[in-house]
Symmetry: C2
Subunit: 225 residues, 2 copies
């Protein structure tokens, strides 16, 4: 197995994934759906952010969730407890979701027109960055407990994301975390990245995130020529 052969194999995998991602994107576009791919380290608060977001939006929007985890159906169970449909994908040894399995999950979920679809990826700040799932945006969640330097140490993910959510800001009084420095690092690897700070636990800062979601949903519902 030479280095050149490995690169070839990797390119084949990514090319195949991209074809499935394009199919998913067509599916989303036909249904006027907004699909977001939530990526982060394990435990930065993806599922908590989702349940808090869903409870605030579910009366107004049709919402569905695809959950990716190596094992267990805990996250899908937490989502279902809010009353919206969720489909759990267990990746086993796998370290990221791929567009093919997401495509099958879409068939099973069969969400209505104009739905908001959240895809919670496996907690992993490296591997999911290369896999397009057909989403409108990758949203990277960074907990302030992880340190300011994650964007420059794990740059591919922050480069791939359009929005960074700095979560767990309720803990800032107990940490030495410098938010401005962290945001500077994020913009260094991705000058276009937008940043929102919030606490999924206390609800502080949630309002801007909800506004962002509503505006993005509005964009998807426009009947483009």
């Amino acid at each position: 197995l030479t280095q050149a052969r490995m690169v070839q194999i990797e390119q084949d995998i990514l090319a195949k994934n991209n074809r499935y991602a394009d199919e998913n994107r067509r599916y989303f576009s036909e249904r006027g759906m907004l699909a977001l791919n939530l990526v982060s380290s394990p435990g930065s608060g993806k599922t908590t952010l989702l349940t808090e977001t869903i409870s605030r939006l579910k009366d107004e929007y049709a919402i569905g969730v695809i959950e990716g985890d190596q094992q267990t159906a805990r996250d899908a169970d937490r989502i279902r407890a809010t009353g919206v449909p969720a489909l759990q994908i267990n990746t086993g040894k796998g370290c990221h979701l791929d567009a093919h399995r997401v495509g099958h999950a879409l068939e099973s979920l069969d969400l209505p027109q104009h739905s908001l679809l959240f895809i919670e990826n496996v907690g992993n700040l490296v591997c999911p960055s290369a896999f397009d799932l057909g989403e409108a945006h990758k949203v990277v969640i960074l907990s302030v407990t992880e340190g300011e330097d994650k964007p420059i140490k794990y740059p591919d993910m922050f480069h791939a994301a359009d929005l960074m959510i700095l979560n767990k800001i309720d803990l800032l009084p107990h940490l030495d975390f410098d938010s401005a420095e962290c945001i500077r690092y994020a913009k260094q690897v991705n000058p276009r990245i937008k940043v929102l700070s919030l606490s999924a636990k206390t609800g502080e800062g949630m309002e801007s995130w909800l506004k962002w979601l509503k505006a993005e949903l509005a964009l998807q519902r426009i009947e483009y020529a």
Copy 2:
């Protein structure tokens, strides 16, 4: 690229890695060195634990560190500031260290007999689990900010580790983290796993970790028949 072919390729990669890991293990054994592979999510406190540990042990033991990160030399710089040698490996797109690159790092570091070698892996709770670096033990660090359920949701890593360190316990008063439940989950996926709780920041609980290191070092220094 069929599923069977993919499995074959994966097995080839792991088999090749295992051969290099065996070489590293021979190297450690010949020099009576203790090599530990520190694995965790991004930002759970690996480097902080290392600098705090090194400052307490460096007068008594020869210590060296191999640092794995996608980008930057920040962690190696932090280690060098304590006065011990460190070698930074940047994995680029790669999501884990492999035994081949660690072998080359060992040559460069050229540590003395009976050294304590820490290998800090790329922050990733999935991929490094499958890659033996020749270490005596994988030590998994879990921050209490990440939630109790990480062991059952990312089971391969907790299965591969011999010791789990629950870090950042200074934050427990501000969280709803149930340590007993987390430890139960860890033992569920790995009944042999040992657990230590500590705060790398305040130093609480460090004493048991230092005792564990000293006992493990003593084991390596025995002249086995």
